[in-house]
Subunit: 353 residues, 2 copies
DNA sequence: ACTAATTTCGTGTACGTTACCGTTAACCAA
DNA sequence: TTGGTTAACGGTAACGTACACGAAATTAGT
């Protein structure tokens, strides 16, 4: 804004103005040792006045610095392909920043096996990384690893779920409570006025439950706060096999007549399968995530709404945040909540994960 | 993928292998004149074999090439601030690519005055630009300008609305038909089963009407195709002042009792104002765009749903497409439809325009 | 065959930084 | 004084590419 020629001031000019060599300027720029406080101050002042911006191209060309990032997320299982999306985002980001001397090495764990998480974490610890992106699914195991990273001053970003209060670079993911709240808001628009809603939690690992509970909390609170007469029932299904889910659903649906079923995670397609097989089409079905199975049931109207929170962008922005922090020294928003997207039969075609 | 040391092969290595100097290699790389077919073929072959990727940093550092892009979009009026968002996107992109030697100069026109559009277009023609981004609102005037650009081989990208069949780089914006279709889909979920819906078109310039008509078409077709019993009425309001809109609405709403009002553009806030003043709260209201006024009416529940199509990203991606095309020689998707986002009281907080 | 015109190619410098190596000078101990 | 140590700084070769200039080689013209 100051001067039009601000693009052309470099170390050489700074050195000239400060009556030192460019070597000295370089030292204060990269705050290395070997320069007296006096000249350092003088140079800093000139840099300030000139609003010097280092030329990133020259920098990259001359620098041989390399950074290594590690990622630790669940592997995509046959059960759910949700984690494909964050991985895609990670790979996209990795590709964009590899020219800047950054190497990204992914590690995976099994959502149903804490041991594999610990294993991955210790590999990363041993691997001398400069930054880590992780999905902190298991609370206790995560905290141990987090503290280790804190000790080593390795910046850490969380995606998909948060462990609040633990010092790290940032969290990128959904606001779970609000996303449940939104689902309730949509349910509220669905006919009729006094309806019965069934909440379905499907999850094997008990640790992952707090994740679902926050959504459920938001969902319930909506109706309380808006004085609705909606009647809520909930069932927990702790086995993810279809036979078991089928049995549980059949039992529950025999008991009562529901207007809406709200599935708190991406397993909604399993419920949709049950609906389809049993020709249930008078119950509205709402669930989570832009997965192929889910989209198919959206197409044939078995599922009415999907809520989605840009899993791919979570991976992408997670890595980019590390990059911005470590390379550009930008400061990073501590909590980056993803949009809560509503997907239906008529807009899924254009959705970008 | 081939070799691990693929990062270290440059013109020098190519020159060595081809028994020529780096000058010659440089000539074929930038396909300049002055190299015989024979040696050119030899060098090209080596480049192919080595899968040579030029170092973008060294390239930018050494090059003093500059590109100039022009943008031509409506100015933000007091009537609607819609175009603030694309402009923001443009500025963001401009900022990101300015280090790559690209200068972006914005031009504006008045949506209600074709003359200003022509004026802007001729300024751009005179300005020797290398790429143009525009909102082709006025069809005839746009086509004249488009042909001029085609003659000069200047790539052109359209945002927000398209003029199909005219040769240009790409279109980035909504699929209007589908976005009307989606609105109808939402309306269909709203109680009760047999409802009366009022479609409201508010627009001064008759030229912009085809824009709105496509949405209306999608909206109507939904009900036809889904065999719904929804009863549709439509009014056109060609003055944008509140008094006039008020009068038209009052007259129409007195005639009949409607369940839903669908406003085909961002002027939905004006209708909301009328609803609020007249304490109408039993009619669902749906409209377009993430604007402050609209959001306020969303908050207080006067507006039920807003449809939004990432106007900021349209500007951003528009400029980036020019950049990718001209600098990186990437090939660009001809039609880039934006997501059709559904915004309600409970998810607007996290929406990113 | 000789010169002129033209095509084809090589060399050198510049771009702004980084990082290493060398130089100075200042200080202290012997 | 001398020698040695070290903090403070200068100088400069890279990094890979662009481009101008001029040399060399080829072709054309007589």
């Amino acid at each position: 804004m100051e001067k039009k020629n601000s693009g052309t001031v470099g170390v050489k000019e700074i050195a000239r103005l400060a009556n030192v060599s460019i070597g000295t300027v370089d030292r204060v720029l990269n705050n290395r040792v070997g320069v007296s406080e006096k000249t350092k101050a003088k140079i800093l002042k000139i840099i300030e006045e000139l609003n010097y911006q280092p030329n990133i191209f020259a920098r990259r060309l001359a620098s041989k610095k390399k950074l290594r990032f590690a990622t630790l997320i669940p592997q995509t299982s046959s059960e759910t392909k949700y984690w494909e999306a964050p991985l895609n985002g990670i790979q996209q980001a990795a590709n964009e920043i590899k020219d800047f001397g950054i190497e990204v090495i992914p590690f995976f764990f099994d959502q149903n096996d804490k041991a594999t998480f610990k294993e991955g974490a210790s590999k990363i610890s041993a691997g001398e990384f400069d930054g880590v992106l992780m999905a902190p699914m298991f609370e206790d195991e995560s905290i141990a690893f987090i503290e280790e990273c804190n000790d080593k001053k390795i910046p850490l970003v969380f995606i998909n779920s948060d462990i609040p209060g633990h010092n790290n670079l940032c969290y990128i993911g959904p606001n779970l409570y609000q996303s449940g709240y939104l689902s309730a808001h949509i349910v509220n628009y669905l006919s009729p006025a006094n309806k019965k809603t069934l909440i379905v939690n499907i999850s094997k690992e008990i640790d992952l439950h707090h994740h679902l509970l926050r959504k459920e909390e938001g969902f319930r609170n909506y109706f309380e706060q808006n004085g609705s007469t909606n009647e809520l029932t909930k069932i927990d299904i702790q086995q993810t096999g279809y036979a078991h889910i089928q049995e549980k659903l059949a039992k529950q649906l025999a008991k009562e007549k529901y207007d809406v079923v709200f599935v708190t995670n991406s397993r909604v397609s399993t419920v949709a399968k049950y609906f389809e097989e049993n020709k249930i089409n008078d119950i509205k079905l709402i669930g989570y995530d832009f997965l192929e199975d889910n989209i198919n049931y959206l197409k044939n109207k078995t599922i009415d709404f999907l809520i989605c929170q840009k899993p791919q962008e979570q991976g992408y922005r997670g890595l980019m945040s590390l990059y911005y922090h470590l390379v550009l020294h930008a400061n990073i928003e501590k909590e980056q909540f993803m949009p809560i997207d509503i997907i239906t039969k008529e807009n899924y075609q254009y959705y970008s994960n």
